[in-house]
Amino acid sequence: DKKRQLAFLMSKRRQKRDVTAAGYMAFSKDVLRWRLIGEGYSSQLTIEEQRYILRLAFRMWSEVSPLEFVEDTWSPLEEVDIKLGFGTGRHLGCNQRFDGTGQEFAHAWFLGDIHFDDDEHFTGPSSHSGISLLKVAVHEIGHVLGLPHIYRPGSIMQPSYLPHESSFEMDWMDRKAIQHLYGGCKGRFSTVFDWIRKEKRPNGAVIIRFNTYFMRDGWYWLYENRNNRTRYGDPVPMQTGWHGIPSDGVDAYVHVWSRTRDSVYFFKGFQFWRYDDENDRVFRQDPEGHQYPRLISEGFPGIPCPIDTAFYDRRDSRIYFFRRTQVYAFSVETNSLARGFPKHIRDVFPPVESRDHPDGSIDAAYFSYSHNALFLLKGTRFWRVVGSRDRWRRPFLPRNGLMPHKEVDQQWFDICDVHPTALKL
């Protein structure tokens, strides 16, 4: 009877897992629930500290994989996917006894439980002594998700514990290991842009820097081009970094930048805002006396709303607005719609390969200073716009043509959602 009962419980839990497309055993759902069980609290840290560290550990995996984790303190225990607890010696009904202080500090079971040896001196992230609970938790969660030990220096899945480093993060290979099991992170974006920063050196010289931002609904990521990843700890809620912008996101970002103009606009619905870089928030009233938010129809006569996206083309001083299959070119010099517009998107941006075209409803038009190229993003794909260098090498390419599409996550890596409850830890 005991065997039958145990086998029944095991088979129920085994249903949570399936063979992935890659042929590996892994969780078969995207949102996993976890709980630090009440009888398994550590005697060394406060309960809140323990829960915070575990929330952070789960979030770190969420930031590099399509998995989301939510702390579940209310459901029946058998519905919780991953249970965690601290114990010493014989603990928590586990058949693998802990050995006391030293050597084994934790273990994890493939079906989802993680046990920490409370005879070890676990400490919080800010401590430089003891054993980092965060580091151990990230490691053990890796096992629960299906990763084995990895002997590569720098891997979070090394079996032996290395003392506190100033910070530890998931490196490229660890990310690819988990993505080999669960796939990469895909999704549409509301807008993508390079934000220009001007810094004045002591000698008076002005340095231009830029940062790349991806926005999706109410949160955003800073993308570090040189590191091929997002900033550690992202995504961040919109209101954290962009004050006065609608908290549920925007439709478009435009930076009008010429010798005589330097204005940044965010568009949402029927309105737009101008951003005050000096004070790091939107203008309530700009130096020209305009109050914000302002109607798009007032600021950009002839442009319909809502728009899908927009970008500023420095070559002809026009803002190109996209709405469904139409493109509207707006001259900032004359403050009016350019002659001949609107035009069909295929006419303005013809396909290089005839069947490979987004055909409208663009999510984001993004000029990248890093790539020195304009990209149109739609869904999980992007098309690069033919530039002058392309046409110099291959004159047969159409002007403003769209190169064959590629996948966004093969150009900009690891832009992953986290569970909404994990946005603020």
């Binding site: 065997k3 145990l6 086998a7 095991m10 088979s11 085994r14 010493t88 058949n95 693998q96 006894r97 802990f98 050995d99 006391g100 202080t101 030293g102 050597q103 084994e104 500090f105 934790a106 273990h107 994890a108 040896d117 005879d119 070890e120 001196h121 002594s129 054993i131 151990v136 490691h139 053990e140 096992h143 084995p148 030990h149 002997y151 220096p153 079996p159 032996s160 514990y161």
Partner: protein, 149 residues
């Protein structure tokens, strides 16, 4: 409580009974290598039944496997010693140590370092049996227990 005197508890004293046994000789090293999968147990019919096997097999399965491995080591010094040396070399290699095949001080230190309890290599109890799911494992152990009786 665990005794301490400093404000930051940095001098907390761990009773000896709560300290993990230090690995200091080849026998304990062999247990370590077995525990973490560097030494695979022999086929089940070759594992000698040890007196400490109890009916509560879930609790002592680990001990059974380790004891079986240690019996394996001592039964035929030549062959089993090669198994031990081979496993030791593998551990040294993955740990970034000089691959000597000798249980030296560096290897001893590495074995005594804090580490995760998950085996580095899956233990294949019997290559001919599907021990990858717990149901089969439970069945095997129940049969063993009944056979002993």
């Amino acid at each position: 409580e665990k005794l301490f005197h400093n404000r930051d508890h940095s001098d907390v004293q761990i009773p000896t009974s709560h300290q993990a046994p230090v690995i200091k000789d080849e026998y304990e090293a062999e247990l370590f290598l077995s525990r973490y999968g560097f030494i695979q147990p022999a086929h089940q019919e070759e594992i000698q039944v040890h007196e400490s096997i109890q009916e509560d097999f879930l609790d002592d399965l680990q001990a059974t496997i380790l004891e079986g491995a240690s019996v394996l080591h001592s039964r035929d010094g030549g062959t089993e010693n090669q198994v031990f040396v081979s496993a030791l070399k593998e551990f040294q290699m993955v740990s970034g140590l000089p691959v000597t095949g000798v249980f030296d001080d560096a290897t001893k230190d590495a074995m005594n370092k804090p580490r995760c309890g998950v085996p580095d290599k899956e233990m294949d109890l019997n290559p001919n049996d599907a021990f990858n799911d717990t149901e089969s494992l439970l069945t095997w152990n129940l049969n063993q227990s009944q056979q002993m009786k």
